[in-house]
Symmetry: C2
Subunit: 418 residues, 2 copies
């Protein structure tokens, strides 16, 4: 019966320092409820980083040597919060191989190398938990494993990137331009100095990869996803979508059809009456459809120091409980199915297409050739916007190619059914 | 390492038969992921109930003798789905005392005798789980224990009764009368033949008692709650609330202030822009505010055979996992704090008051005497409606008494801040 859990932390940035603070505040409650005294006692920082005052306040030993943490036999677990792939992957591997449980919020890493790292954790009989990697403060991963095991998910979709949702909210509500909205998000600390992964949909794609593993047991790679970002989204498209009765949201979708999955990320026209349209600013929301429970939604902060740190510490508490019970390191997600992607002709959706450099008649001919019905056509000074009836991806590709031969496809977005 | 979990079920009604079906469908997936073959093999029915065909389809042995289940040494767990207090309490006690884990969806029982039953479970080293007792398909209890242990909840409120929410939706959207809406809810099977507990707010109060235990560790009794139902809510009030910019919802609230709690259930004026206002029909939604995560919301079906049954089976899966790991029966909620209720003068809210038999001037005098500010006053043929500024419960009680002396207080409802 273990009554202490001593922890080392890698990185004292936004989430790292938040985790130290949250644990300090909740330590007594955790001890009372789990019987385990959990404490973060050592932190890895970069040479030259000034964290003396912080370390003193929270009684941390600082080090710039990884081995001082992963090879310290008095430590039971390691929290990784430096982010990115390298050297985070090597650091986590070293921690696992030294028999430390690991908690991380690193979606880039878990989406790309999660399967490999979980194998290393298993081989070393330790746990690797990463609840905070998807939708910050929303406990969506643990919910999927604990509450959907006796159910069958058919569809999981949501807003899983706080930065772009903040930007889109400003663009929709205040008419802020794309560039201005991005600058605001950076100022508020939502977007990183290099916001590429956010605005290009890559960050959301990482999260959809992880959600797909938990929902269907299937391991998909980024290359299997259809990914579009919101880079350069025009005020015109935002206004036109609203005129049609929709809001534009960056939506991740993972849909199961007859044993196959289709995973995509992109700006989507969401009906103004749909609950996803009402998720504002940096908040995230995940909708799940399943055969047993039906429709559910989980909503909460998608990022931020405290919400993400609280999620990190919850993972640590799970480890403390397991250690206390003497359980040999369970893994987060044991669901595994062979990967099977939905063929293009079975991926059906309606689309918003904005086209320039091509006449209305020519465009109509292209659509007719591919048996695509246009439900709406709006021509604004030669920029033609079409809302199609549901079509498959082969039809879409053919239309895109034909349009590109004669003019320019300025924007293509999926339309969500009401 | 236990690889079988044999289960007996008490009651084959709406949720009982649903549970048998859900398990039959998910048995293979559960086995694959937990390594345990979970099966319901025996069912208690009433003498004379005709369940032969059902029993045959799902390979159940039927019995009308409780002892055949609770004293059967080959059974590991018992699911109780007969409902109400007696004999459910005695049946569960017998099961626990015979060393069976128990799963139940019985909120009446868990709210009133949960603490006692959990003690019996502990004494017999078995688990007692009841996720389905609150908000049917929403995994709110497990979320509270797993994800809020390292956080501090300040406020939990929501729509936790599907029947009344269905009725209010019909009244608000279609102008259906109270009586008609109730008849529809009964027809659709949401409301029971005796809908007293639903419309009087008792069912919601049971759930708020359980949520309060999980959120704050505090055990409150029904008598500690302020409970109001929607019985006889008039079309006039519904329309007047809408004119003020609100929808009427039956809301349960459990609020922590300086270490004390106030728990209430009643019709509340919810701003039309608030997410709670958009929860329709039989759906439930629970909002949590906490110092770490901030604001979160969990939304899903509040009742119904399949959602509730899926939740029951999830509890069974948790037991199967624990048995497999050889863990000695953890309990659901280990959080315990001495109960402390918020004093009346610290319970602050704005109110909607509908008054008859009293003149506007007299009413204004009463309000002034108690230093209550009226933000809105509407007089419709002598039925006066007032929206007050925030006041405490002593002020409210004084106003109510003074009004009762001169006329009639037709309706009093809390107003939720935007
Ligand atoms: N921020 C959020 O809201 C949020 C939400 C969910 C998940 N996450 C994830 O949480 C992780 C941390 O994010 P964050 O926002 O806390 O980032 P951050 O503020 O940039 O923190 C990372 C910290 O690690 C330090 N670091 C980097 N490489 C290091 C090394 N080799 N040795 C020692 N220290 C090193 C950084 O120092 P320098 O500044 O000197 O590089 C920085 O202090 C990322 O995986 C991120 O994706 C963040
Ligand atoms: N329905 C929902 O959506 C829902 C949602 C959440 C929680 N719950 C809870 O789940 C429980 C079951 O609800 P339900 O809707 O399934 O009720 P139900 O349809 O009335 O089912 C109860 C069944 O138990 C039988 N029963 C009662 N006493 C019995 C006894 N002594 N011995 C054997 N059988 C007995 C009843 O038979 P008779 O009909 O002959 O009495 C009936 O078949 C309740 O605690 C309820 O509060 C229900």
């Amino acid at each position: 019966m273990k009554e202490q859990l001593r922890v080392g932390i890698l990185g004292l940035g936004v989430v790292g320092s938040g985790s130290v603070k949250v644990l300090a505040e909740q330590q007594a409650k955790i001890k009372e409820q789990t019987g385990v005294e959990v404490s973060i006692v050592k932190a890895l920082i970069r040479p030259g980083e000034d964290k003396e005052a912080f370390a003193k306040e929270f009684q941390l030993t600082l080090t710039t040597e990884l081995s001082e943490i992963v090879e310290d036999p008095s430590l039971d677990a390691v929290i990784e919060l430096i982010g990115k792939i390298h050297p985070a992957k090597e650091f986590i591997t070293a921690a696992l191989e030294n028999g430390k449980h690991v908690v991380t919020a690193n979606k880039d890493l878990m989406a790309q190398h999660g399967v490999e790292l979980v194998e290393i954790a298993k081989a070393n009989n330790v746990s690797l938990f990463y609840e905070a990697s998807v939708a910050g403060g929303i406990p969506i991963l643990r919910t999927l494993t604990a509450n959907y095991l006796a159910d069958e998910i058919t569809n999981i979709r949501g807003i899983v990137n706080g930065t772009t949702n903040y930007m889109l909210t400003k663009m929709l509500e205040d008419g802020t331009s794309y560039e201005e909205a991005l600058a605001q998000a950076q100022e508020l600390g939502f977007a990183e100095s290099d916001p590429t992964n956010d605005v290009d949909g890559i960050d959301a794609a990482y999260k959809m990869v992880i959600l797909t593993q938990f929902a269907y047991g299937m391991d998909v790679a980024l290359i299997d996803l259809e990914i579009q970002g919101i880079r350069g989204l025009s005020d015109q498209d935002v206004a036109q979508a609203q005129a049609f009765g929709y809001e534009i949201k960056l939506i991740g979708e993972s849909v199961k059809t007859a044993g196959t999955v289709n995973v995509s990320v992109g700006p989507v026209l969401v009906p103004q009456t749909h609950a996803l349209a009402s998720i504002k600013n940096e908040y995230n929301g995940v909708f799940i459809n399943s055969t047993g429970i039906g429709q559910s939604m989980f909503y909460g902060p998608g990022a931020g120091s405290l919400p993400t740190a609280t999620s990190v510490i919850s993972d640590l508490v799970a480890i403390a409980k397991n250690e206390r019970l003497g359980i040999s390191a369970p893994q987060f997600n044991e669901y595994r199915r062979p990967q099977a992607l939905t063929p293009d002709e079975q991926v059906i959706a309606s689309y918003y297409l904005a086209v320039t450099g091509i006449g209305q008649e020519d465009l109509q001919t292209i659509l007719q050739n591919e048996t695509v019905t246009a439900k709406e056509v709006v021509d604004t000074n030669g920029r033609i916007v079409v809302l199609t009836a549901p079509i498959n991806r082969l039809q879409l590709a053919a239309v895109e190619e034909a349009v590109a031969n004669k003019g320019t496809l300025e924007r293509r977005m999926r339309v969500m059914e009401a």
